[in-house]
Amino acid sequence: MEVELRNITKRFGDLVANDEVSLTIQPGKILGLLGENGAGKTTMMNVLYGLYSADGGEIFVDGKPASFASPKDAIAAGIGMVHQHFMLVPVFTVAENVVLGVEPTGALDRLDLKRAREQVRDIGAEYGLEVDPDALIEDIPVGLQQRVEIIKTLFRSAEIVIFDEPTAVLTPQEVKEFFQIVRSLRDAGKGIVFITHKLGEIIELTDHVKVLRGGRVVGEGDPKIMSQVELAELMVGRPVDLVVDKVAANPGKAILEVSGLKVLGEGGDVAVDNVDFDVRAGEIVGIAGVQGNGQTELIEAITGLRSVADGSISFEGEDITHHSPRQVHALRIAHIPEDRQRSGIISDFSIAENMALDSYYEDRYGRGVTLSWPQINAQSAKDVFEFDVRTPTIFNAASTLSGGNQQKLVAARELSREIKLIIASQPTRGIDVGSIEYIHQRIVAARDAGVGALIVSTELDEIMALSDRILVMYRGRIVKEFAGGGSDVTEIGMAMAGVAQ
């Protein structure tokens, strides 16, 4: 099945999110969609999927005009979409989720789960998507949940599958497996749309790439003959530095000291097990590790969000083991949380309100209990401009920002005030190369000004690029320490996988 989108225009008020964009999705081909945050990629796909109605342009399926008023129409026409935020019922099994809404039924309309399970296994076998049909969604890792989403689309006979930033939530190993799956889909003749910010992935996986900027197509080509630098420049519209420029660190004395730290996880299990380390002023310490090895709990303990079972945390000599999040914040510690949707922003609040979310009570924003909106607004506008959060006005709800711009908003809020320590989880998840460059530069600049930084990332590239010192976390422990520059990636990878030396 071939789908052509011709001259699609989509406006939100005055804002033109898609400006006469055309593209063709061919069977047996992987089309890459590349573009900076807010370029209109998600919007374009939502138009195709029937979530938004276009203000102009046409859609053709196999040369015949088509229109989708809702996702139901799009699904019926053979279009499937795997959203960045999965739409699964956590307490249902894999098979139940897959058949939800289109359940196979036996005599007397009885739900035929046995057939459902078989069908899930068949699809799995056909495309290398093995998942246990009886596992509960809440019990399986993100990578498998994504497979379930893919199986769901295939179960509904999708001929076109759209992936919106599918790799952002995956570990490197899961990414490899995911690519295998996408290739087998392509080989089975499906048309694939693949949205990402990662240039390497475009080059490795796609057959054709379209670059969007400002809602328009600004370039396209064969990624096999394009370099990352070329793609980055096309995307951002200016040359981008893909490696972080930094001079050697000049660390001062230790400001954050963690010793013998033990933290319990959600289920009472030991998530952080006897961890010792320190972060010095003027250095960036990166914590590498596969997701789910205690990094989340470690960060929550340091920032006062989770209670400490044993051990101590001190900051500039002061014991902060039992500090509240507000007390930690007041010590000039910035925190960029790992899940921006859930804990970083309030999507119904305006951008200005979100910018003040953890400092609204400070003297600079009012006197006593009163808030001074002129001050808050002025500061927000300044920071939004400086950190390049793309929005027409700071009075819009944060939910109107594109995914990457929401992340930039959180970074702007945390890094714009005067700070002594940065604690960041996945600081650049889902943002484009131009913005990654900018946020990395900010972190490095802060380091050069004597700020300490603790960065948690599952992107080994990011850890390698930023860190002066790398700690590898595995099953709640820090299993190995590496020097920042020039360490062997394979060795770090092995430590992450728990291969002991």
Partner: protein, 378 residues
């Protein structure tokens, strides 16, 4: 500046002054359009219901005319509307502020009762005080006791996780029986009476009438001024103070609020205390302005109507003000309708309920009147 800063559409980089211009100042319109449409639809359906139940067209027209005349048709009608609206507005805000923090305060009724009793107790004690001291003191007593009554539910939620819907309903029952019981005690019961009627509020604690100098029949009293003041104060609290910021943050995304250092439990308790204070103040306004004494169940369902008012006003102070005025008008007009025609006051309850159903189902209203909402539909 580079290309990316001068692009079109979404990727355009806006200047600081552009960022600071607020395009959303049509706020009032979006706040009022939906309820207005819902109201019109409910009136229409009310007519249909009358027709189906055998009322002919002339009588339907006559009823609605009575409704209009009885609510806004004369100074007397306006006065009655305001008398009915004052407690609805204040209690509506009590429920609305709960919604803002993500709490459902079903307990306004109990808060009205306990607060009303406190206002009453201060109001019939202390005969020597001047009105400038006595009246504020009585109102304050109502607000404080209401705050404690509401605060209990908030505190239970914060500390034990007990859901406020359950606890406020239970507190309502307790308050109801507590009033019955108190009215039989020597302290409250009117001397020489055997039935549960309280002593009367002293003149120095009564809310002054506003228009009796024109006509002694005009019952409108300073309660409505208090209601206006409270609308302003709650608007200020919600949108111009750190406390309101915390309430709204917790209501909109408790997880992010916690990450931002806001104490959720404290916010729940504080919200319910403020909500309770408003409930208690409502009781005070009723007792000191309209009833002048207490009898069993004197809250007469205001606390439940307040839920409807808060929903209709979309938990926004200005919205609640208009919703309270509308419901007050319906009540005053409904009484007139009862007198002038044989259409029962039940119809008013039906119309009120329909309004709520339509407000709760915005998609229905939007699809009924697509033209009115077109520019908003993005």
């Amino acid at each position: 500046m580079t290309d990316s800063q001068t692009g079109v559409g979404s990727a355009k980089k806006y200047s600081v002054s552009e960022l600071l211009t607020n395009p959303n100042e049509v706020d009032l319109k979006t706040l009022l359009l939906l309820p207005a449409m819902a109201f019109m639809t409910a009136l229409f359906l009310g007519g249909v219901i009358m027709f189906v139940s055998g009322v002919d067209f002339t009588n339907i027209a006559f009823s609605y005319r009575a409704l209009l005349v009885g609510s806004v048709g004369s100074v007397f009608a306006l006065s009655e509307t305001l008398v009915a609206a004052a407690p609805l507005i204040i209690a509506g805000l009590s429920v609305a502020i709960g919604f803002r923090s993500g709490l459902f305060n079903i307990g306004a009724e109990g808060q009205i009762l306990t607060g009303g009793m406190a206002a009453l107790a201060v109001g019939f004690s202390f005969p020597e005080l001047s009105i400038w001291v006595h009246l504020p003191l009585s109102l304050l007593a109502g607000a404080i006791v209401g705050a404690v009554w509401g605060g209990i539910a908030g505190w239970l939620r914060a500390v034990t996780g007990a859901h406020e819907v359950i606890s406020t309903i239970m507190l309502n029952f307790i308050a109801l029986r507590l009033v019955d019981f108190s009215l039989k005690t020597d302290f409250f019961q009117k001397t020489g009476r055997n039935d549960p009627i309280s002593k009367s509020v002293l003149d120095s604690a009564l809310l002054p009438d506003l228009l009796t100098w024109i006509d002694p029949q005009l019952r409108v009293n300073a309660g409505i001024l208090i209601a206006f003041l409270v609308v302003f104060l709650i608007g200020w609290l919600l949108f111009r103070t750190t406390i309101g910021f915390e309430f709204r943050a917790v209501g909109a995304n408790p997880d992010a609020a916690r990450y931002a250092g806001i104490r959720i439990g404290w916010t729940f308790t504080a919200t319910m205390a403020v909500a309770g204070a408003l409930g208690g103040l409502t009781g005070g306004v009723q007792v000191l302005g309209v009833l002048e004494r207490a009898s069993p169940g004197f809250s007469s369902g205001i606390g439940f109507e307040a839920i409807a008012v808060a929903l209709l006003g979309r938990a926004h102070p200005t919205g609640v003000l208009f919703a309270g005025l509308l419901f007050g008008a319906l009540e005053a007009g409904g009484r007139q309708m009862q007198v002038d025609t044989n259409v029962g006051i039940d119809l008013i309850t039906i119309i009120q309920s329909l309004v709520i159903v339509f407000v709760a189902a915005p998609i229905l209203i939007k699809s009924l009147y697509p033209f009115a909402f077109r520019e908003h539909a993005k």
